[in-house]
Symmetry: C2
Subunit: 343 residues, 2 copies
């Protein structure tokens, strides 16, 4: 492996591709994450080979590790929050992890994240917890020179947060409540604030609130006192607790919008009052899943604007051998962002 600076190789110095075998982490089945050596991925037509420099971990990775996922096929190299360097050119990129058909109704309407033919890195095809990854050229988002790799790999979760905000039609000056002050909730709050929304966060864990204190204070994002009777124009769940559905619907102003950003892991049913509240107060409930390529471009710019601040969201830089432990910590729900250093 090549010894690289924290920000990737110097411009114009392509990384060597000396080996034909690479290290990666394979999920064989839920619970079984195996460090292994495999042949380098062979880029298909229209694809390029990236040397992965950083890959961040998220709650979905942890969920896939623990119990699988609707869109996961096994065995699989996980990792969809990727920053890498094109082997052929040395150019640095963030990666939009999807590849869509480009011709269906969803693709033609700019919602390629909903394409039925979607193939997602780290879900349907091998992702970024490896030294190399093959990526469609159309999925590469070039990076500004002074955005470090460790921050650039946060473009994907930030783009997903942007997608959620867009589904709510939130406008400047309106009030937003976010359930869950984990890394993606905090990125979402940052993005909403950048769009001029007044943003509150509801978080049950005092330790999480404390850890995000500096990040939130810098953006003037208050923690929401659940006893307050503030009414919100939009509510987004960035936490898988079922309770955030019923509680959030009640906190919406009439004709307000609830965005289901996080799937609900608790299997218990939803009270019928939620549906009747939607009926009587003409509320909207909208889903958000993944992100589009243009949302990822916007996320890169936003990260660049906030690059000093976003550093605060990184819990720890780790190696491939520490991933399993990190995923277990993510499941316990008390950490910020783990960034895996691959090169």
């Amino acid at each position: 492996m090549i010894d690289q600076s924290a920000n990737g190789p110097a411009n114009g110095a392509p990384p060597r591709q000396s080996a034909t075998v690479m290290k990666c982490l394979q999920l064989k089945q839920p619970g079984s994450l195996i460090p292994t050596h495999t042949a380098l991925p062979q880029p298909g037509p229209g694809e390029v080979l990236l040397r992965v420099t950083r890959c961040a971990l998220c709650r979905t990775d942890a969920k896939m590790f623990a119990q699988g996922h609707r869109d996961l096929t096994l065995p699989r190299v996980l990792g969809h929050e990727i920053c890498g360097v094109e082997v052929a050119t040395g150019q640095r990129y963030a990666v939009w992890p999807g590849s869509s058909c480009g011709s269906c109704t969803q693709c033609r309407n700019g919602r390629e994240n909903l394409c039925r033919q979607m193939q997602i890195l780290g879900f349907h095809r091998n992702g970024g917890l490896a030294e190399f990854v093959a990526v469609p050229r159309t999925s590469l988002i070039p990076l500004p020179a002074d955005l470090p790799d460790a921050l650039a790999c946060l473009a994907e979760p930030l783009a997903c947060a942007l997608n959620a905000i867009e589904q709510t039609n939130l406008r400047g000056g309106q009030k937003l409540l976010i359930y869950g002050a984990g890394p993606v909730g905090l990125l979402m709050a940052m993005a909403a604030t950048a769009r001029g929304a007044a943003t509150w966060m509801s978080e049950r864990s005092d330790s999480k609130l404390k850890r995000s204190d500096q990040f939130r204070k810098g953006l003037n994002i208050a923690s929401h006192d659940n006893r307050s009777d503030l009414a919100f124009d939009a509510v987004i769940n960035a936490a898988p607790a079922r309770e955030a559905i019923s509680a959030g619907i009640k906190r919406l102003t009439t004709a307000g919008c609830y965005c289901v950003f996080s799937g609900i892991t608790n299997a218990a049913a939803i009270p019928v009052e939620v549906i009747n509240e939607i009926h009587y107060r003409q509320l909207r409930m909208v889903g958000a899943y993944g992100c589009t390529s243009s949302q990822l471009q916007e996320a890169v710019t936003l990260l660049w604007n906030h690059r000093a601040r976003v550093n605060l969201l990184i819990e720890r830089h780790i190696g491939l051998n520490e991933v399993e432990d990190a995923l277990r910590q993510i499941l316990a729900g008390k950490t910020l962002k783990f960034v895996v250093k691959l090169a």
Copy 2:
């Protein structure tokens, strides 16, 4: 009482207001609907006195009779689907049953049906199951001469159906599925067809399907075979069954919209899969409650266009003394529209 033609008094012949006492039906408490004589209502500032000619009954009236309603205060004269004649001028009107503040956020955004100060005839104030009713002048919708009173009183449910369709953002050429082929479902199907949508109806009761056969055929509205795998751009429930939520969400195309037009009476909870389906497929769930004054104006025009057809939706013309029995039949869910003849 004055003997009038089925279409109200001849133009220019104001109805006499000979009495100071009128007949009405008062709901004293759920289950107790009492025919009574009361003083004529006294119009407040900005209000006029109408002689009610026809008042139609709907499922909400039946529900208020059986178990009350969120917006009902007692004792109350029910009836919010009203056609009447202004006592002072003889002019015929359909009645928008609301009166809103005009200055809140909802009113200023054209959603006066969601005004917090809303006072609804037959809910918060006395309605149309009476010989006379006091109505804000701003709630009067003038009628074309050849739209009979018995059809004009259907403008209110049709306007509520239009409100639901508008919440879905349904466009011409798109596919709509309506659960429930009762009167309001059928009016909704008519309105959607008029907007160029391809419309299907799902109805569990064979007898209801059979009764609406002629109406549906004339509009080319198919009954939906629940085994079909058609995907719909929008689904609306015009029936209170909880099952129409889970089943309808599954039938939506990706990024499609479910409109909760009917509240859910069955208290059983909603499976969490409904929420996760909204998440994964970026579906929208929107509420619809009541209607705006401009939707009621549009409904009058639509009724006029379809006046021959809409007649098919009337189950029976009845008197005040038959209302309680009619409400019980509505609760049993097998009838079309009852229209009460007041004058």
